[in-house]
């Protein structure tokens, strides 16, 4: 990827999420009709297909649902699925943590300040 803002040309639906992340706020998309959260964020609720979806502040906390340390990379990194306390599971990286201490169901919280192609990304660290 070049510049993340180029990518956002294709994704106006979630521009607010990425902007909020730059401002230090982690947003989760909820449905005002069925009251369920979902991931990744959409204008149309994937659960009940209502268009009445809205951003709410997320706790930024959850548990590791699964993970894998990419040993083959020049600098090993950890991809993970984190189940947010609000319910949905998101794909992320585990950062600022001892790679050998990562386990399934370990508690994690949002780790700020990690950028990819100039954009802050929702990455997590072991609690």
């Amino acid at each position: 990827m070049a510049d993340f803002s180029d990518l956002m040309i294709h994704h106006p639906e979630t521009a607010e999420f990425w902007q909020a992340l730059e401002e230090g706020r982690f947003l989760i998309r909820f449905c005002a009709d069925c009251e369920k959260a979902h991931w990744y964020p959409r204008a149309i609720c994937p659960h009940c297909h209502s268009a009445h979806t809205e951003w709410r502040e997320g706790s930024g906390e959850g548990n590791i649902y699964s993970y894998s340390v990419m040993r083959r990379a020049e600098t090993p990194y950890t991809i993970a699925y984190v189940r947010l306390d609000e319910g949905p599971i998101l794909m992320t990286n585990i950062v600022d943590s001892d790679l050998e201490a990562i386990t399934v169901e370990h508690r994690v919280r949002l780790a700020w300040g990690h950028k990819v192609d100039g954009q802050t990304m929702p990455m997590f660290a072991l609690s």
Partner: protein, 389 residues
Amino acid sequence: MSIRGKACIAGIYEHPLRKAPDKSVAQLHAEVALGALADAGLTIDDVDGYFCGGDAPGTGPLSLIDYMNLNVRHADSSNIGGASYILHVGHAAEAIAAGKCDVALITLAGRPRSEGLSKGIVPRTDNPVQPDFPWESPMRMTTVNAYAMCAMRHMYEYGTTSEQLAWIKVAASHHAQHNPNAMLRDVVTVEDVVNSPMIADPLHRLDCCVVSDGGGALVVVRPEIAKELNRPKIMVRGGAEAVKHQSGGTFDLTWSAGALSGPKAFEEAGITPDDIKYVSVYDSFTYTVLTQLEDLGFCEKGKGGAFVSDGNLISGVGKLPFNTDGGGLCNNHPVHRGGMTKVIETVRQLRGEAHPAVQVPGCDLALAHGTGGNLGTRHGAATLILERQ
């Protein structure tokens, strides 16, 4: 409408090359097409239906139909990744049953190895317009680390071990030693697999399939036509497809879409997993085989580790011989798409044309199954049950 008994696989061909720097992708498609038609005893003028997947260069099937100068009245480029060709057999049977074509040609070909594309360990370069792209690509999701997360969760929930996964590779290598075209012909041990370098926890180098050029083709025909050909009659007994995805973030990584397609295919065929004498199962990674065998009902969910251990998948040794050509783990994995070769080896087994060292005696009912896309995010599955008549 059922497709049971509505179509037969009359021709198969697997390209012998594993590296093809001197051939174009379209040329490989044409070579496998002509090979499968010759195997069936048909000519390219007999083809009136054409099927291809995402490996076909051009817009859907258009460029290859043009290149091969086909004259078809039915075309289908359904793409669910590597399992597409298993799904195409079902779609071809549906088209034949509906009277849309009589002789369907399905091709797969490509040359990632010659083009230097070792796709599994590099982050995806999918279309940035697809809605999931910004949520996955920046996290450096690759094929292998996404499948690894499935295996990791399976291990957590069911106690599956790396040694158990290794048995799948061991079985594949026992079969590949008899295949002169296989890329990896050395028999390996459980220790060899678990001591090979870790790629993405918990998947080692030998848990991963090979990368190869090449391809394959199938010819699916109306039963009346199959009867007139001088080949064993391999009938479509049942087939089904399914898609599993992230369900808005509420998914369970420990099962695959085979849990949805498998029961439907068995119902259509009117049989159970106990009736199956041989299986071809997509083996992008050892773990892929394990979850699919569970999902198809060959063993209980979570018991796959014990089921695949101690040579249970080795022909002549275990209860469920699988991938007797060596599969993607040892033989080939043309264009990162293993579905085509799964059908081809299933047909060889039913015809009694597998290598004598791995031929399953009295093989009259067999299953080919695959998943395509990514088990860790969203994938399609296709199950095909074939019968020798």
